[in-house]
Every structure is written in C-alpha cells, then in structure tokens.
Symmetry: D2
Subunit: 134 residues, 4 copies
C-alpha cells in the first residue's frame, strides 16, 4: 500500500493488490465508507474437515470487508482486534459479508459484519476494530 | 468428517480432508490434546494490501490449530466463538500458531493461541472457544 | 436459583434474588425472550477515575440484561463469553442496556447488547454468549 | 483524573478517586506497569441469582486491574475493547485479578487478565485493550 494509491471505487485494483483475497476467490460487490460487501462462491478450496466453509475463511471475509469499509474514507488502516461468533454453516452456495459502520473515530473505527448465505441466514456475526495508521 | 475417522496422529490425512488448510499451504507440526502446532511459510498467496500476512490468514491458522488441539481428544468439535488481537506483522518467513489448552469442558473447550514469527515474536494473540458436538 | 422458581415477568423478585444488580442500582425495564432492558441512573457509586461510568458497570449492565433475555424462555443459563467495545461515555443521566436476541440454540444463545444514553447515543456495543445449563 | 495527578504507588488515593471500585469493595494489592493485582472478598453484594460472583463483577475486576497496569506508566488510558471467557465460579472466598502486560504500544496497550480464586483456579480469562488518550 506504500507506493500505491487506491481509487476508492476500483474493486479490481484492490483485489490485484491483495493476493490473499484473490487467491481465496473473494469478490468485492460494493465499496462505501458506511457499507461494503465481499462474497465468495463456496468451492472445494473453501471447505473444512466437515465439508463446510472453514471458519478461518468466514473470518477472513469479515476482516476483508471491514478493511474495505474503513479504507473507503481514503485513510490507511490495520486490523486491531476482532470477535467472531459462528452460528450456522453451509457446504455450497454464496457467502456474503457486509461491513456495516458502527463508529468512525479519529484512531479507531468499529465495523460490524454479519456473514450470511444466499437466503440471508446468519452464518457468523463479527465485530472488527480497525486502527488508522496515518 | 461424517464417515471418516481421524487417527489422531495422522497429520497428512487431516490435511487431505481439510481442503482450505491445504490450499492455504498450512502444515501441521504437532498434534496433542494439550498443545498442537500449525505453520505456514509466507508466500505471495498469504499477503494483503501492504505485503504483510493477511489478518484473515493469521486468524485461520489459529482456528485450525484450535480445532486440532480440541479434536485430539477423539471427539468432534466446531468453533463457537473467537477473539483475536493483532500485534505486529511480517512480510516473509515462518508463521507458527500454537494451540494451548486452557480448559477442556464437557461442552466447551477453550484454547489460547499465540501466533508468532520464527524469532518467537508475537504477531497475534487469539482465544478460541470450541463446542463439542457429540 | 436452585430452590427458587422465577415467574418470568416478576422484575422485583429477580432483583431481590440478584444482590449485585440491586446493590449497583440496576432497574429492569422490560423482560422478554427477544428483547429485555435494564437501566441505571448514573450516581456517584457508578463512576470511575475520570468521573464517567466505570467500564465494569457498563459491561455488568450488558451481562445482566443478556441473562434476563436468555432466561425469559424459562431455562437456566450462565454466561459463557462476551466481547465489549467501548465507544463514548457520560458522567450523568440514564444508561440503558437492551438485550437483543441474535440466536437461540439448544446450548448456546447469542445476545447483542447496545448500551446507550438517554438520547440513544451508543456508549458500548456488547455481544454475550449464554450457555444453557439444563 | 483531570486535575488530579496519580502518584503511581498510592493505591489508597486511586481508590478514593474511583468510587465504583471502592463501592464494590475492590482492593489494590500490587501496582506495576508489567503486573498489577486487584482483589475482592466475596460478600453478599457480589452475588448473582445463583449465589455465585456476578459475571459483571468478574469483568469489572479485570477492567480495573487492566486500567491500573496501563496507567502505571504515567499516561492516561481508557478501555477500548475487551473479551472475557467465564470458566468456573465460587460463592465465597477471595477473587484475584492479575493484569499481565502483553504489549505496550504507542496507542494501544494489551493486557491479559487471569481471574482466579484463592487456590489459583481460573474463574475467568480476560483480554483488555487500553487506548492511550494523551
């Protein structure tokens, strides 16, 4: 991020500079400082021991969308801490993580991230605290 | 996991049945009900916007090793909730997540997971609550 | 709770059996398995070093209302884990904690608790996992 | 805290300026920027519905000792976020919360707080993130 300036609507460029997101087949559906959206289509690479979406990937989607929501104000952020509750899980279909702004402070921005399936059922509920590094 | 019985020392079989872990290049270094260990060598697929390890992957390592530590008692578990603090980050080298048993209950098992670099410096500190489903 | 059966609408009896809540001047405004409400009027005993409401009390309100919301289904629960984000604080006035049911499971019930001042401004955002012990 | 300067070894003065701690019978056993200690003798005012220590008070002890540990470096802090796991509980005796420094950053200081009974058995495990406001 050092020498690259993000045009805050360019989802393709963001993914291009974020190898982990791209490698894990994440797609950016919406970018805004109040509400962003990231999703995946569940494939083999997403699955855990039980054939469901790996909890690490559910969290990663939430972390990714929280970062996008925070950074959509044009500043630089890192994740400070997060809490995740796992509620139910699926073995195929679409998983959507919505980053909803709770509070944007000078240093700390708090984002709540419901992670849902295609029918809108809650798979996980995440809270992410982002720390502004500029 | 339904029709497959895990021999609790067989790391290769565990990875074979856990596509997300394998796809993200995780290696199981140690399996025990008190202390397990998972690690990655940081490559391009692990990196975020800033060229450091993606927070989602740091959490995923912790979730994975917590699952292995919990399941090493022969029972079946899912992750119930987790909390993660990010402390510092690296752009290359080895990342190790150690699952340390805090308390094994009838239903809930709590595992603390320090995530460190090769020099043992703390990258993240994670607490994972696993729920026994049998 | 052992030999006492709670009539799930009797706020006064609940407080009578819950000395910590009563001692800290908590009042139960609403009891329901989907949405309960607990509040305090900020007095001297509630304040911290800076003359604001002590963070421990803000959490205690959330824990108390989560317990009431969970137990309003007639079952017995203990708190399993919780996460709290502190957002802003006040030195006087009314503080209200609302327990909003996110998911009621067989073992785990998840309750989200916004803690607000009289004007509805968010002071803290809490997630509480309650564990059913029967 | 505005017009009062804390002499970092004066436990009595700290309690005098912290009405919530004093009202809830907390005692400061040890003050240091690496490891502080707060405790209570469990009395009637500390108990919940089941006659055990109220979860809100267990958290409050942890929040209090985290604040003392953070502030023992001479700077001013507020609690940013916290995570608590409840493990077992008691109905009488001494409860001790130890604030152990995990990492002191420029803005964020992370403190881990094991809460134990007299025999050293873990009642709760807490992580507190303090934010430096100067």
């Amino acid at each position: 991020m050092a020498d690259w300036e993000w045009d805050h609507q360019d989802a393709a460029a963001y993914l291009e500079h974020n190898p982990f997101m791209k490698y894990n087949h994440m797609e950016i559906e919406k970018i805004s400082p109040e509400l962003s959206e990231v999703q995946i289509e569940v494939g083999r690479d997403a699955r855990n021991l039980m054939g469901m979406v790996h909890g690490g990937l559910l969290y990663a989607l939430a972390d990714a969308v929280a970062g996008i929501t925070a950074r959509a104000d044009g500043r630089k952020y890192v994740t400070q801490s997060a809490h995740i509750n796992f509620i139910r899980n699926i073995s195929e279909g679409t998983v959507t993580a919505k980053g909803i702004l709770v509070r944007r402070g000078r240093s700390i921005t708090i984002i709540r991230v419901p992670v849902t399936d295609k029918e809108g059922r809650l798979l996980a509920e995440v809270t992410v605290d982002m720390f502004c590094i500029e």
